[in-house]
């Protein structure tokens, strides 16, 4: 009998405690329902719509979109552009994070702010700045046309604009990570006789690999999907068999859409949406790895 009373008292106390710092059941349910409804309408429905519209006229029509040589050259160009921009920003990100996290000097915060700058610049302006620099009215125009070099309305311009909009991704991921990890491990390696490169490859890189991969994946997703900046510098020249043209996948989607080939536009869009979903899955997986690695590092520090 006494035992049951204690049990009920404990339960009552638990209940009180729960009520004090948590909402009642129906409040919880309503809040969860409202949040899920909002996310469902705003995020899930568009995702379903991309694939539904793409497959609207059947699988045959869907696959036919990908047989058009103009679409194929757009896909090739997108991979080429991302294949140049992402490694460039990746090397920069590692160098910048090393320069910022491993040494002390004045003006570091200004440097970090400047690295973040491209995030607060409109993609349209990102394209515009290269048109002003290398286009017909720019300071290099005469020299470039004398030497028959095309930057604007050609692939180099697309690479430059893409590099600009994806500029901070790797760096801003690595800077806080390397700052949190400190310098002791690298210093120990140096004291034990490792060369600078050995220290980097054997000590630093294994520590930052998940953060680096995370930055690269986000950088790549943006590089492949960039529309505004690329649209300004592209000149919209269709590629075909044997010619690359200056159309990336997003620009090709726009052309198909404006030609009232809606199903074709959505079929191609579904390719990018699929890449986006893969990005999200990889991102979630790496986040788990990253927190585990950071946690292990913290435990090491404490030990």
């Amino acid at each position: 009998m006494g035992e049951t009373t204690t049990f009920f008292r404990a339960a009552a106390r638990r209940d009180l405690r729960r009520r004090a710092t948590a909402e009642s059941h129906w409040v919880r349910r309503v809040l969860v329902a409202v949040a899920l409804l909002f996310l469902g309408i705003f995020l899930v429905l568009p995702l379903i719509a991309v694939f539904a519209e793409g497959l609207h006229k059947g699988l045959g029509y869907y696959l036919n979109t990908f047989r058009d040589p103009r679409t194929l050259s757009a896909i090739t160009l997108t991979f080429i552009v991302a294949g140049i921009s992402v490694p460039l920003n990746c090397v920069f990100g590692v160098a910048a994070a090393w320069a910022i996290a491993k040494f002390d000097y004045r003006g570091k915060n200004i440097l970090i702010t400047l690295i973040d700058l491209p995030f607060s610049v409109s993609p349209v302006i990102a394209g515009l700045i290269y048109v002003l620099l290398f286009g017909a009215p720019g300071p290099f125009w005469n020299w470039l046309s004398d030497h028959d070099i095309k930057i604007i309305f050609a692939v180099p311009g697309i690479v430059l604009a893409t590099t600009f909009v994806t500029f901070p991704f790797v760096a801003r991921e690595l800077i806080p990570l390397m700052e949190a990890q400190g310098r002791t491990e690298e210093e120990a390696a140096r004291v034990l006789g490792a060369s600078g490169w050995q220290t980097f490859w054997r000590v630093t890189l294994p520590n930052i690999k998940w953060g680096l991969l995370y930055g690269v994946i986000l950088c790549n997703a943006r590089a492949m999907g960039e529309f505004g900046a690329v649209s300004v510098v592209s000149g919209h020249i269709s590629g075909g068999v044997g010619t690359l043209g200056t159309m990336t996948i997003p620009l090709r989607i726009e052309v198909l859409y404006n030609e009232y080939n809606t199903t074709g536009a959505f079929a191609l869009a579904s390719l990018l949406a699929f890449l986006g979903l893969v990005t999200l899955a990889l991102k979630t997986w790496i986040e788990r790895k990253k927190t585990a690695a950071l946690h292990a590092a913290e435990m090491d520090l404490r030990a």
Binding site: A20, A96, A99, S120, G228
Partner: protein, 276 residues
């Protein structure tokens, strides 16, 4: 005695030199070109370009819709962050991952998809049409697109703060007799302000410059549904480089001013607020 500037780790000159060179070549010098180009305009020319009626209408839409979208995301974003941190429900991990969808989905894809959803014959537009609500090709459409792309900014800045929130503070408030709503309003919410402000400004700045997701759904009627980035492109297509640049300067100054204001506000609030 070792010099104060002695560095154990190598590569300082190499990495900092490379960082500064690459930053200058890709970002700083091209951006400076915008301001140099504007200086070729006389003050009157510049002023006439940036205060033309069509330009003023585009600022009103760009700044107004971006502000309202970011504000909407403050409420929806805090709600989503709260639900994701505090409650358990089926499929929570997938929902959590999906919040980043607007970051991962290319803007052009988002643009055509939202247009087809909200067009009069679309899944949502079809439901709203009998009620007399038009979304696609109106200013409301611009607002919807900007809300879509801004959502992750607020959720992802508020979420970590809520996760680190010490439950003892809420327990203390409850034991002192505060109701749950009072605890939320007076104890939890003030702690969230800096994160909400950061998320708001990020979403606002991103929405201001957004192009891809808006051009399809906006309909792009001059004076009505034309955003400033689109007006810049229109001027470029007419080879009016000076006019495009003048508008770009207005946008750049606008978004830098927002970020600066928010940084100052945060700096002030961190100075005035006693650390817990």
């Amino acid at each position: 005695m070792t010099s104060k500037n002695f560095r154990v780790l190598p590569g300082f000159r190499l990495t900092l030199g490379y960082t500064l060179l690459y930053l200058s070549l890709i970002v700083l010098i091209p951006l400076a070109g915008v301001f140099l180009k504007t200086s070729t305009l006389s003050w009157e020319q510049f002023w006439d370009t940036v205060t033309a009626l069509r330009a003023l209408a585009s600022y009103r839409l760009s700044f107004g819709a971006s502000f309202l979208a970011a504000l909407t995301n403050v409420f929806c974003g805090v709600l989503v962050a709260w639900v994701l941190v505090r409650y358990e429900f089926f499929g929570k991990k997938i929902v959590d991952a999906l919040v980043d969808m607007p970051f991962a989905l290319p803007t052009a894809v988002a643009g055509i998809t939202l247009t087809s959803l909200y067009a009069p014959g679309g899944w949502i537009g079809g439901l709203l049409a009998p009620l007399g609500v038009k979304v696609a090709f109106t200013q409301l459409g611009v607002f919807i697109a900007l809300t879509f792309i801004g959502l992750p900014f607020i959720v992802r800045t508020v979420q970590p703060v809520l996760e680190d929130f010490d439950p003892e503070i809420e327990e203390a408030a409850a034991s002192l007799g505060a109701s749950r709503w009072q605890t939320f309003r007076r104890v939890v919410l003030p702690q969230l302000y800096p994160a909400v402000l950061t998320g708001f400004s990020l979403a606002f700045a991103r929405a201001l410059g957004e192009y891809g997701s808006v051009v399809f759904i906006a309909g792009n009627m001059p004076m009505k549904t034309e955003i400033t980035p689109l007006l810049i492109i229109t001027k470029l297509e007419q080879y009016d480089y000076a006019g495009a640049t003048a508008l770009a300067v207005v946008m750049l100054v606008g978004s830098f001013a927002i970020l600066l204001t928010v940084n100052l506000l945060q700096w002030r609030s961190s100075r005035h607020q006693a650390p817990i």
